[in-house]
């Protein structure tokens, strides 16, 4: 049985896409392929025109570092490591010089409203705050796509709204976002909602709340 079957999908720059589907529908596998964490056994995946399936391990690492920003359901921050050090990690892997690392990480944490929590380790932050650190980390390399895997799955609903507001803001600023969720009201924040079932796309349509008007999303 194939996790994904006959998927043909174009995601354009600046889109905010939600992928929905029951568990086992293949949405995680799709996400991993989009994130260059996993390679398709057949077919091709072009990212900015580049065939990801043909790249070496090190080139894939570069793609994940520079082109993709991950936001995970479980935040996946390094324990015992301050918020700013967590955000610095991708910059470090990219070989950015140290003073610049700090400046860029600081700017990102300000953007997600955590300028006063720089030196807090994850266990001193709330779930919502941890996810905002993770978003800052995903943004800091200015990637082509932000991939969010159930970003509000572990977060209380009040804070979840704050997280979604950040994603909307990022989308308004021109970031491309692909988000997996199984909650319809979270998916409603996206412009486009793709439904998967048994590895196939069964529905690909507009979200209700946000419409694209003159190239900009509006309520």
């Amino acid at each position: 049985m194939k996790a994904l079957d006959d998927i043909s999908l174009n995601i354009n720059q600046g889109e905010f896409v939600a992928i929905m589907g029951p568990s086992g529908s293949g949405k995680s596998t799709l996400m991993h392929i989009l994130g260059a964490l996993d390679l398709p056994t057949g077919g091709t995946y072009l990212l900015n025109g580049q065939n990801v399936g043909l790249l070496s391990d090190d080139q894939l690492a570069d793609i994940r570092n520079k082109e993709i920003g991950f936001v995970f359901q479980a935040y996946n921050l390094l324990a015992r490591t301050s918020a700013i050090e967590n955000v610095i990690l991708p910059l470090d892997y990219a070989g950015v010089p140290e003073p610049e690392q700090y400046e860029r990480a600081l700017a990102m944490l300000k953007k997600v409203g955590l300028a006063d929590r720089l030196s807090h380790p994850p266990n001193k932050l709330s779930g919502g705050q941890q996810q905002r650190v993770a978003i800052a980390r995903a943004l800091v390399m200015n990637p082509s796509i932000i991939l969010a895997d159930e970003p509000t799955g572990n977060i209380a609903s009040a804070q979840a709204e704050e997280i979604m507001a950040i994603f909307e803001q990022l989308n308004d600023d021109g970031h491309t976002i692909v988000m997996i969720t199984h909650e319809p009201d979270i998916a409603e924040h996206a412009q486009r909602i793709i439904h998967l079932l048994d590895g196939k796309i069964v529905k690909d349509g507009n979200g209700h709340k946000r419409r694209i008007i003159n190239g900009k999303a509006k309520e």
Binding site: A61, R64, N65, N76, Y93, R137
Partner: protein, 407 residues
């Protein structure tokens, strides 16, 4: 990633589980420490043996009696009674001997010595006056034996400093005192200077008496236990060995060299034999120490493998954020090198310290072998690389997606 940053994050990760890190380091500490202590100990005991043998003189040849036979069983070397005073006399006077300067016939045996309330059991050597010259003995106090003493079979004795201390206490002048050797009174006429030496052959623990007195009055024997020969120079040692050898063969009515009932050994021969023994011992001890070092290394590998398993999710995350294979390899290698390096440093300090304490407690020479310290240092770092390599490779080749899913 910069090296300082790698080291910093390595230390941070190792500090998370201090108990485990400590135990892993302890394995390396014990391994490196014992290598350093034992190698240094072996080296210094080798040097001590060499210097004690060299202090006797390099022109020296020693003629020893051959093996004793009882039936078909060969007994101990030097146990036979084949060397006689006449043999020594012949070496002195024969016209065939051209390269020997002095001949010192000796008989030595153990005897019970009493002085006042103290008593000891030690080596008593019967010698002629030339002994002092051949064996390079110099006196601290009093005088040495004379030919007068020899002909009159005088009951006089020259003490080594070790015996003097045992009998009269430290710093007491024994010259003029009387001691009893096997129940007979002897007048102490001299005290030799300390020459040092170790174990059974300690020259400071000897009592020197006239040869005639030793043979007739103390031990009742007519043979010699050895003849020391001083060659005219180091260059003619082999010639001297041959001349004396053939003279003794003909005197003992033997024709084949293989039948010789005596042996002539140079200091070099004795040195080699002694070095072989201490060398074997050092090798053995070092081998044991090396095994403990290996076990320590396996301990490091075990800890690193556990750490890779525990941190699978972290590795997956790092890869998702763009860490390359070599970045992960460096990260884990750094950690294992920090472990072994720390262990190596502590081990070097403890090893040197332990050896120093041993040397002080036993009045042995403290001579640190720097090569062993260097070696231990690089070996410990090498073990870090060697035993850290496999776990690091294992971590780096994890598939990011499986690593992220790992619970």
């Amino acid at each position: 990633m910069k090296i300082t940053k790698l080291i910093k994050s390595g230390i941070k990760n190792l500090a998370i589980n201090k108990m485990r890190t400590g135990l892993a380091v302890l394995g390396i500490v014990i391994g490196i420490g014992s290598v350093i202590a034992l190698v240094s100990l072996g080296e210094s005991s080798k040097k001590a043996v060499q210097s004690s043998i060299q202090s006797i003189g390099s022109n020296l040849l020693t003629v020893l009696p051959g093996f004793t036979f009882s039936g078909n069983v060969r007994g101990a070397m030097g146990g036979a009674q084949t060397l006689t005073n006449e043999d020594a006399e012949a070496i002195k006077t024969s016209s065939r001997i051209t390269t020997v300067k002095s001949v010192s016939p000796e008989y030595s045996g153990r005897a019970q010595i009493i002085a006042g309330r103290n008593n000891t059991n030690t080596q008593v050597v019967g010698v002629e006056p030339v002994y002092a010259q051949v064996r390079k003995i110099s006196l601290e106090k009093g005088s040495f034996l004379t030919s007068q003493h020899l002909t009159s079979m005088a009951k006089v004795a020259v003490l080594g400093p070790g015996v003097a201390e045992d009998l009269f206490g430290e710093g007491v002048d024994p010259v003029g005192q009387t001691i009893r050797i096997n129940g007979k009174n002897f007048l102490v006429i001299g005290l030799t200077k300390s020459k040092g030496g170790m174990g059974m052959d300690n020259q400071d623990d000897r009592i020197i008496v006239p040869l005639t007195t030793a043979q007739k009055q103390l031990f009742g024997v007519k043979y010699l236990s050895s003849i020391a020969l001083e060659a005219k120079s180091e260059a003619v040692m082999t010639q001297a060995q041959n001349e004396v050898g053939y003279l003794l063969l003909s005197r003992h009515k033997l024709t084949a060299v293989e039948d010789a009932d005596f042996r002539i050994m140079s200091q070099e021969d004795i040195l080699q034999a002694a070095s072989a023994v201490t060398g074997t011992f050092t090798t053995l001890l070092t081998g044991i120490a090396a095994i403990s070092l290996l076990v320590g290394g396996i301990g490091i590998m075990n800890i690193m493998l556990m750490s890779v398993t525990e941190r699978t999710r972290e590795i997956g995350l790092r890869k998702a954020l763009g860490a390359k294979k070599k970045t992960i390899v460096y990260q884990f290698l750094t950690e294992s090198i920090i472990l072994t390096f720390t262990g190596g440093l502590i081990g070097i300090v403890l090893g040197i310290g332990g050896y120093y304490l041993y040397a002080r407690a036993n009045n042995a020479v403290f001579s640190l072998s720097f090569s062993s310290v260097f070696l231990a240092f690089f070996v410990s770092a090498g073990i870090g690389v060697l035993f850290g390599w496999y776990p690091a490779r294992k971590a780096a080749s994890l598939q990011p997606i499986e690593a992220l899913r790992y619970e």
